[in-house]
């Protein structure tokens, strides 16, 4: 026995066996199994011996845990359990502050986790409720670059795309094109602006919208039919059973009658395709020749549903060929422009699977990651509180541990006790957390722009996740006391020779980590707020204050503007009135995409009136303004921006023809540049400024009315505008907004994120400070004798307070140092979304550091100062 080349039992099984802590037969079993192994080895061979060794180990494991252990502790198992509970509750009650800090902190952390779980779940299950989600695809135009990488995807497609695809590519079962417009809708009451979707009849077959009444098969066959949601039905008819009723929609100049053919339930919020009113696409103004077979006008979104057995991957090549067949000319242009080699694809039609559309192109999965990160950070901070406070109190608990061990407790029983305590606290926190989450939910919905709801009965995943969070938190939070405290030797703890006053390295690094996390969130808050403020205060190059903005929806802007000028133009509270094509400050203005000297340049066109530059308070830097008296100015003159001159390399633009546009073919081709305005941010600050020019040419329509009013008597002025509107356009109610309000809607998404980060950092620093408060209280109480002696020896209050503050200030400083580079990196990533942005500066870090220091110091100060004022006679007398 014991020779080196002797076969040995399987290591893993052996290790498994050695794990049977505190089992009566453990020692015996090891040598028994060894002996058996050797007997079997010599009798039956190694393989058999090893197999039976495993079998034995497993059988021991299975039986031991269920029978032996229970019988073994049968005598005092349940009474001990009762004792654990009693001791736990006593400890909780005796130290109310710590209990509060732990429970409250964990509850907030868990509430955050619950909310963010809902958010992420919503994001990940987008469109999953559509039964056919695995075979519905959105057809997108995918453009490749010179190196074969994807340049960009255009989700819109030409009108003939879907029907042609069904004819030419086998396996396409159904299709729908989808397009949204805003129209006035009327029953008997005042017309209301609604968003109206145009679609093909198959849409109701492809997507699983719950039909309440009507026939989904035939609902959209007639060009005058409309499918509406329950909400719309209730809004206009006061009831939902409205199939056959008439609804007026003003698509063009007049209201047309539509017959309700079906009513559908509200579509879930996490559906990419949503509608309120749905009418056949055949009714759209563009759905007529010559657009019907134009392949170069991308207007409608196109969804197709494949037949069940068709594999989408197999359609890749047919689709590329299809693209070349129908968009070959454009492919050729692009191939030359981007110098794409002959053997590479220029563009293709790409199938974007429905369940992936949301995360691929609408929302950024990054948001889910960031939110999860924030939730985990906050939960971690709360867990660290639990741990550091346990460590701080461990000198008290260690006596209990020693006592229990002396009277015969095994280590695993103590582990059971401490982890049990952690789970109990987590359980209480969880209940509180769920209540808190319910309370936060409306706020969170407002912040995240979703409408989530806790539905524990239907959404069992939430329950599972909550339970999982609880177990995980309990496990992490309880790990220190369970693993370390239970390992103490009774002799050292009872003699009191164990040093554990909350000042060890582990505690310190945990506290530093907490502050690092808090500081990261605070720096992010500061940078985000600063950037958004930068956007608001940016000199846009024009004045948007007190401008009433009225979208006209296909009314003649010039006529209305003239009517308004005659009626109220002279009023003291009206500063100026003008009609314009596109209002400034929005993404995606109208314009041209042109080729110039081998570069593709987007030109934005603003259709204006002659008073526009004065109205917007823009600055003319060269040439002259439009003149209302010159007839030629109406069609043959433009005013360019500085960027325009720069991009097209015009040194002396005045008097020259507009470059890159062809006279006769392009509406503004051949026009003469008569002036140049200073650059102004007509787009949002996410984008680089594009070249632009102003024109008075009415061909593209003056679709908006702008009225600048004086800030005084705003109420009356608006009422007056309303009256005037009603005299000239009695059939449509006035719909107005303020230009500056509207402009900031572009940034609403980032405002929301800034707010979420802001609130999170508040909670993070709050929980961290709760922990700090607990910790400093512990430290002070454990060093109170030292304080007494120091005072006797002549220390001042300030010195004593400084003694305690110093340690924690150091930790906060370390936290700031750790957090800064990470926050710097993360914030630069975010700022890159904006073409015009601030830079993350030392000021942000300093400010965050000062904020955290001040908060931390004021948390500490109460206890530290109290310690400074203690009477040494009191603390030293009892020994």
């Amino acid at each position: 026995m014991g020779l080196a080349n002797q076969p040995t039992p399987p290591k893993l099984a052996r290790w498994l066996l050695s794990l049977s802590i505190a089992w009566k037969f453990k020692e015996e079993a090891e040598s028994d199994l060894d002996e058996l192994f050797h007997i079997r080895c010599s009798n039956w061979g190694l393989r058999y011996a090893r197999r039976l060794y495993w079998q034995d180990v497993l059988s021991i494991w299975v039986r031991r845990s269920w029978f032996e252990e229970l019988e073994f502790t049968q005598l005092n198992f349940f009474p001990m359990f009762k004792n654990y509970l009693k001791v736990t509750f006593r400890a909780l009650k005796k130290q109310k502050i710590y209990t509060f800090i732990n429970v409250f902190g964990l509850a907030i952390g868990l509430a955050f986790c619950a909310l963010i779980f809902l958010y992420v779940q919503d994001e990940l299950t987008y469109d999953r409720f559509h039964e056919n989600n695995d075979r519905i695809f959105r057809i997108e135009q995918r453009y490749f670059g010179t190196d074969g990488s994807v340049r960009f995807d255009n989700p819109n497609g030409p009108i003939p795309l879907a029907p042609t695809l069904k004819q030419e590519i086998p396996g396409v079962e159904a299709y729908t094109r989808l397009f949204r417009r805003t129209h006035y809708v009327q029953v008997d009451n005042e017309p209301i602006r609604e968003s109206v979707h145009y679609a093909d009849a198959d849409i109701l077959k492809m997507f699983s919208f719950p039909i309440i009444s009507g026939n989904s098969e035939t609902a959209l066959l007639n060009v005058n039919s409309v499918v509406i949601t329950e909400e719309i039905a209730t809004k206009y008819f006061g009831k939902t059973n409205v199939v056959g009723e008439t609804l007026k929609i003003r698509k063009e100049e007049d209201f047309e009658d539509y017959f309700v053919t079906a009513v559908v339930g509200k579509s879930p919020d996490n559906s990419t395709v949503k509608f309120e009113l749905l009418i056949p696409i055949q009714g759209d103004a563009r759905y007529r020749p010559p657009y019907l077979d134009r392949w170069n006008m991308n207007l409608y979104k196109t969804f197709i549903m494949l037949e069940k057995q068709v594999d989408a991957a197999q359609l890749k090549e047919p689709l590329a060929a299809f693209r070349e067949r129908h968009n070959g000319d454009y492919n050729q242009v692009l191939r030359e422009r981007h110098e794409i080699p002959e053997n590479q694809l220029v563009s293709t039609y790409h199938l974007n699977p429905l369940p992936e559309i949301h995360l691929n192109s609408v929302s950024d999965p990054m948001y889910s990651y960031i939110l999860s990160g924030i939730a985990i950070a906050i939960l971690l901070i709360a867990c660290i509180n639990f741990m550091t406070l346990s460590i701080g109190r461990s000198s008290r608990r260690s006596k209990e541990v020693g006592m229990r061990k002396v009277v015969g407790a095994f280590r695993h029983q103590l582990m059971f006790q401490f982890w049990g305590e952690a789970f109990l606290i987590c359980g209480i926190s969880m209940i509180l957390g769920v209540l808190l989450a319910g309370g936060f939910l409306p706020v969170f919905n407002a912040l995240s722009g979703k409408s989530l709801a806790f539905n524990y009965l239907e959404n069992w995943e939430t329950l599972v996740a909550l339970f999982g969070f609880m177990v995980l938190t309990g496990f992490i939070a309880g790990s220190y006391p369970a693993v370390i405290l239970s390992g103490f030797k009774p002799v050292t703890t009872l003699k009191g020779s164990l040093k554990l006053s909350g000042s060890n390295f582990f505690t310190k690094s945990l506290v530093a980590l907490q502050f690092a996390l808090s500081v990261m969130l605070i720096i992010s808050t500061l940078v985000m707020k600063n950037q958004l403020q930068f956007i608001r205060s940016q000199d846009l190059g024009y004045n948007t204050e007190h401008v009433v903005y009225i979208p006209l929806n296909r009314l003649d802007g010039l006529k209305i503007a003239n009517n308004f000028r005659t009626a109220i133009g002279g009023h003291i509270d009206i500063v100026d009135i003008t009609a314009t094509g596109v209002a400034v400050g929005f993404k995606g203005s109208y314009g041209y995409g042109v080729e110039y000297n081998g570069e593709s340049i987007d030109i934005n066109v603003f259709t204006v009136e002659s008073n526009y530059i004065d109205f917007m308070e823009m600055e003319l830097v060269a040439g002259r303004n439009f003149s209302p008296d010159l007839a030629t100015d109406t069609t043959e003159s433009v005013i360019i921006t500085e960027t325009f001159a720069r991009e097209f390399g015009l040194n002396d633009p005045i008097g020259k023809q507009v470059p890159a546009l062809t006279p006769g073919k392009d509406t503004h081709g051949g026009a003469i540049i008569i002036g140049m305005v200073k650059d102004h941010y007509f787009q949002s600050l996410y984008d680089e400024m594009d070249p632009a020019f102003l024109t008075m040419n009415p061909a593209w329509g003056h679709g908006n009315l702008l009225i600048r009013i004086r800030p005084e008597n705003m109420q009356e002025t608006i009422a007056m505008i309303k009256d005037t509107w009603n005299t000239f356009v009695p059939e449509i109610p006035l719909n107005y907004r303020f230009l500056d309000e509207d402009m900031y809607e572009e940034y609403a998404n980032d405002e929301r994120w800034a707010n979420i980060v802001n609130y999170s950092s508040l909670f993070a620093i709050f929980i961290a400070c709760l922990g700090l408060f607990g910790l400093v209280t512990l430290t002070v109480s454990s060093r109170i004798k030292e304080v007494g002696i120091r005072k006797v020896l002549g220390a001042s209050v300030l010195q004593i307070s400084g003694l305690f503050a110093k340690d924690f200030v150091k930790l906060v400083a370390i936290g700031v140092l750790v957090a800064s580079p990470i926050a710097y990196y993360a914030m630069n990533q975010w700022l890159n979304n904006f073409a015009y942005h601030i830079s993350v500066g030392i000021i942000h870090f300093l400010l965050a550091a000062i904020i955290v220091l001040v908060i931390a110091l004021s948390t500490i100060s109460f206890q530290a100062i109290k310690a400074g004022f203690t009477n040494p006679a009191e603390t030293l007398s009892n020994e």
């Binding site: 015996e28 040598s31 028994d32 199994l33 002996e35 034995d56």
Partner: protein, 110 residues
Amino acid sequence: MNRSQKIGELEELILLAIGGLSNEAYTVSIQQLLESTSGRVISMGALYTSLERLGKKGYATSEMSKPTAERGGKSKRIYKVTYEGEQILHETRAVRDRLWNQFKWSPAWG
């Protein structure tokens, strides 16, 4: 000691094996004996559980032997059948005998 404690089949076999091994009855030898006589491979988990039960019911006792060289200097637990253990074996045997005597052997099976 509660006399009405029932005894299972495996427990009975183990008890018999202990008796048969007299002073050499420890886990490995019990296991080996049962394996060679009955052909059944009894897992150690089952063996420990049964031995523990037999001890609880008072049918077997055990004590540690002196450390032996063959087990790498470790001692082994030697089992003995108690008076109650022998009684219950008798009882079980008696019940079986009575039933055996009443058994009507079918002539058809020879």
